[in-house]
């Protein structure tokens, strides 16, 4: 099929400000948007810059705004867009470095703020720590996060203030707060109840809609809020 591909372009060494470039291309409905970008880079303009690695939705490199929605370019097929007009722009709220590449450092900084690692100083047994399937299920959804930033950069609260920790950081906090093996829920809940924490979430649900791993992010944030207000993890 014939498509019209409109791409956000910005080369800091040449352009004073960003611009759009439109390409008329032949593509297959089952092409991934990533395949189409690779085609443009390979055969039309080698300067086009974007991140990618696994090409099947598990590494989280290629989060982009595709027809106005945050998605992974490798997990979005042309046929999913129901039309022949495709617009690809960088995710919002992070500084654009070049074309579709944004500065991810503030995002990872926010991630690190929530102590995203198991904390349990009790001596470990010789074998595994036991955990029931039910306790394991309690935080299963939030273990799926690939840190692609689709959620955080779809959030109006993050656009307004990049010190707002954002949904991805909350998801990763949730993953440990509700892990029966962890012992630092209180510490994390304190961080999340502070100024840039969960109370800036206005349950807009953009994050949940954007997540390519289908994590129920707004629900997870709700559980964190409830834990803060009730002081209980039940």
């Amino acid at each position: 099929m014939k498509i019209s591909l409109k791409l956000y372009r910005y080369n800091p060494e040449i352009d004073k400000k960003s611009r759009y470039e439109t390409y008329q291309l032949e593509a297959d409905p089952t092409d991934r948007i990533l395949d189409i970008l690779e085609f443009v880079k390979g055969y039309i303009d080698g300067t086009l810059s974007f991140r990618r690695s696994c090409a099947h939705g598990v590494c989280g490199s290629d989060a982009m705004r595709i027809n106005g929605q945050n998605r992974l370019a490798c997990k979005t097929l042309l046929r999913d867009l129901h039309g022949n007009k495709v617009t690809v722009e960088p995710i919002m709220g992070l500084r654009v470095i070049k074309d579709l590449i944004v500065d991810m450092d503030p995002f990872f900084e926010n991630f690190r703020t929530v102590l995203p690692y198991l904390i349990n100083d009790e001596p470990a047994p010789k074998t595994e720590r036991l955990q029931s399937p039910e306790d394991r299920e309690r935080f299963d959804d939030t273990t799926k996060c690939i840190l692609c930033a689709c959620c955080t950069t779809s959030c109006p609260s993050f656009w307004a203030n990049d010190e707002y920790l954002g949904p991805a950081a909350f998801v990763n906090a949730h993953r440990f707060i509700f892990d029966s093996r962890d012992r630092a829920a209180d510490e994390r809940l304190k961080i999340l109840s502070a100024q840039n924490g969960v109370y800036r979430c206005h349950t807009v649900f953009n994050c949940t809609l954007a997540c390519p791993r289908e994590i129920e992010i707004t629900k997870a944030i709700g559980e964190v809020k409830r834990a803060i207000s009730t002081g209980s993890l039940k």
Partner: protein
């Protein structure tokens, strides 16, 4: 140009690199250099499990795991290293659990385990539940968990730095030269120990499960510095990639009871592996599929088969096989159970195929998957550079870039994740230990020159060749002729073509002349690595006139232990490839015919 000094430099931030960094940083100043953000590494794509004889669901022993791995390797694996890995496996998995890895659990709360290809009860020969898993995201969980631990332990990261060169001074490792992708500035990392954990080179082939990042950088950098690579003719094709796309469908699907069918609706693996059938070793299954294809029994006469995990099919064949649950009851599954154990597979099928795997079978074909060969090391991760296993002081390698060799001619599923954590750990420990007693080698004044020359050659070439064209032609010829079945004629065709492509690569056109994220230049440099390795692989494959594991030749269909029970070593100097050999370490298991 900036210079940084550390005791230990780790290159690559997948499972092996992060494990090495965690252990090295306990006692030595350590930095990890990676061309990707660590969580983008390809370890995250591993699905089905990590092998360890925990015996949580049934009787199992590290000795059985050892034998299965030796047999899986078609007797080319070094038995001392394999035994070491399988013994270490049990504690290594518990250690991951203690780090917080969210394994799936048994009803008693223990780590859950599933069957995987080639892993057997050594008495009955039937599949054994040895793969410790977290749904079908085990690699993702390992990568995330290790990265979390690195944050906890304040490991230094240089993310999005591409290592271009390895510095060797006075016969010892002295550091690396890396390009900062966001600025194109060259940095010299001066160190006492260097650990390479850069992954494999599966992007050489057209249909591949491998990430774009898998361009063989570490192996190629070492080769350019005069070091040998080991057993490069051995590359694994995984039987079940999504048709055309190559995206991996875990062997765990067959572990959960999925069956492969040909066009006549036959469960063809019965013919090729009467005992374990669909759970035979990967090389065996991939070859069986090709044989079926050649005989016209691909689906609709095409190059694919159906992998069927619909509950009614799983249950019918489980009953025929007499498969039981650990409590002795018959193995019967529901659609919900399958989805809960294989959620990502279900997602891939829906996104890329528009197929729901519990109501429709999945179209699959063999896909390029895993690099068995690589930088030769001993079982401590120390790089060894000749047939005497002479150690290159201060240089270590672990994970897919390394060849210990624990996988020999064919890797068993779940042993790659085990390889990462075991040898990543020991390489990190050794690297730190070595750095304590060592002094920094003096840096030559021209330390960055070789790296710079490589990049400038590409940037300044006046040619008009495209990366995309050369890459496509390489992948196509390598998939056709240096893939699952090989012949001397086919491989010679490939060799000629790859040599022509290497010439054309000298005349590549780089459109982007900027400094900020010049991925045009990096793609071209990576392609050079792939071409260099493709040539070396083909030369090694032509040279080995036998069939063993993943190296299957129509013109030499039998394994030839009298002449070929040995590892290949290959060097490249001034464009010429030189081959040598070293013996296989055989301790307990004498080679015998391999039947599943």
């Amino acid at each position: 140009m900036q210079t940084h000094i550390f005791d230990v430099i780790v290159v690559g931030a997948g499972g092996a690199g992060l494990m090495a960094a965690l252990y090295a940083s306990k006692t030595a100043s350590t930095a990890v250099i990676s061309k990707l953000y660590p969580t983008r590494s390809h370890t995250g794509a591993a699905q089905g499990g990590v092998g360890a004889a925990l015996g949580n669901l049934e009787e199992d022993y590290p000795e059985w795991h050892t034998f299965d791995t030796v047999k899986g390797s078609d007797y080319l694996g070094d038995q001392d290293a394999i035994e070491f890995m399988c013994q270490e496996a049990v504690d290594a998995v518990y250690e991951l659990e203690h780090y917080g890895l969210p394994f799936s659990r048994t009803p008693e709360g223990k780590i859950d385990q599933r069957p995987f290809g080639g892993h057997t009860n050594n008495v009955t020969g039937k599949p054994v539940r040895r793969a410790c898993f977290a749904a079908d995201r085990t690699g993702h969980m390992i990568l995330q968990t290790l990265y979390q631990q690195c944050i906890k332990n304040h490991v230094n990261f240089y993310d999005e730095f591409q290592v271009i060169d390895l510095l060797i001074v006075n016969g010892a490792a002295a550091g690396v030269v890396a390009l900062e992708l966001s600025t194109s500035e060259l940095h010299v990392f001066h160190a006492k120990s260097v650990v390479f954990a850069t992954g494999g080179h599966g992007r050489i082939w057209e249909v591949t499960s491998n990430a774009y990042a898998y361009s063989g950088d570490g192996a190629s950098v070492a080769l350019r510095r005069g070091l040998p690579l080991e057993d490069m003719e051995f590359f694994q094709f995984h039987p079940t990639g999504i048709y055309k796309l190559g995206i991996l469908i875990t062997e765990g699907v067959r572990g959960e009871g999925g069956i492969l069918f040909n066009d006549k609706g036959e469960r063809f693996m019965e013919k090729y592996a009467p005992k374990v059938k669909d759970l035979a070793s990967r090389d065996v299954v991939s070859r069986a599929m090709y044989t079926e294809m050649r005989e016209g029994r691909g689906i609709g006469g095409k190059n694919f088969f159906y992998l069927d995990v619909r509950p009614e099919v799983v249950n019918r064949y489980a009953a025929l096989d007499g498969r039981k649950r650990p409590d002795g009851s018959p193995y019967i599954v529901t659609a919900d159970e399958i989805i809960s154990k294989l959620p990502d597979i279900a997602d891939f099928c829906r996104v890329y195929l528009g197929v729901d795997p519990v109501t429709q079978p999945m179209p699959v074909q063999p896909t390029a998957h895993y690099t068995m060969g690589g930088i030769p090391t001993n079982k401590y991760g120390e790089v060894v550079i000749d047939d005497q296993n002479t150690v290159l002081p201060g240089f270590y390698a672990a994970g897919e870039v390394a060849c210990v060799s624990v996988h020999g001619a064919n890797r068993l599923g779940t042993n790659s994740l085990l390889d990462l954590i075991t040898f990543g750990k020991h390489a990190g420990l050794r690297a730190a230990e070595f750095s304590r007693g060592a002094t920094l080698q003096p840096l030559p004044k021209d330390a960055a020159d070789f790296a710079l020359a490589q990049l400038n050659q590409l940037k300044n070439s006046a040619g008009s060749e495209r990366v995309a064209d050369i890459s496509r032609e390489m992948k196509s010829v390598m998939f056709d002729h240096v893939g699952i079945f090989r012949t001397a004629d086919g491989m010679k065709t490939a060799l000629e073509k790859v040599r022509e492509l290497r010439q054309r690569h000298q005349h590549i056109k780089i459109t982007d002349q900027g400094k900020v994220f010049n991925t045009d230049l990096i793609n071209a440099w990576e392609l050079g690595n792939l071409l260099q390795l493709a040539e070396l692989i083909t030369v090694c494959a032509i040279n080995r006139t036998e069939s063993r594991g993943a190296h299957a030749r129509d013109d030499y269909p039998k394994r030839d232990d009298a002449n070929w029970m040995k590892h290949t070593l290959a060097w490249e100097k001034d464009g010429n490839i030189r081959l040598g050999y070293k013996p296989v370490a055989i301790t307990k298991y004498q080679p015998k015919e391999r039947v599943y």
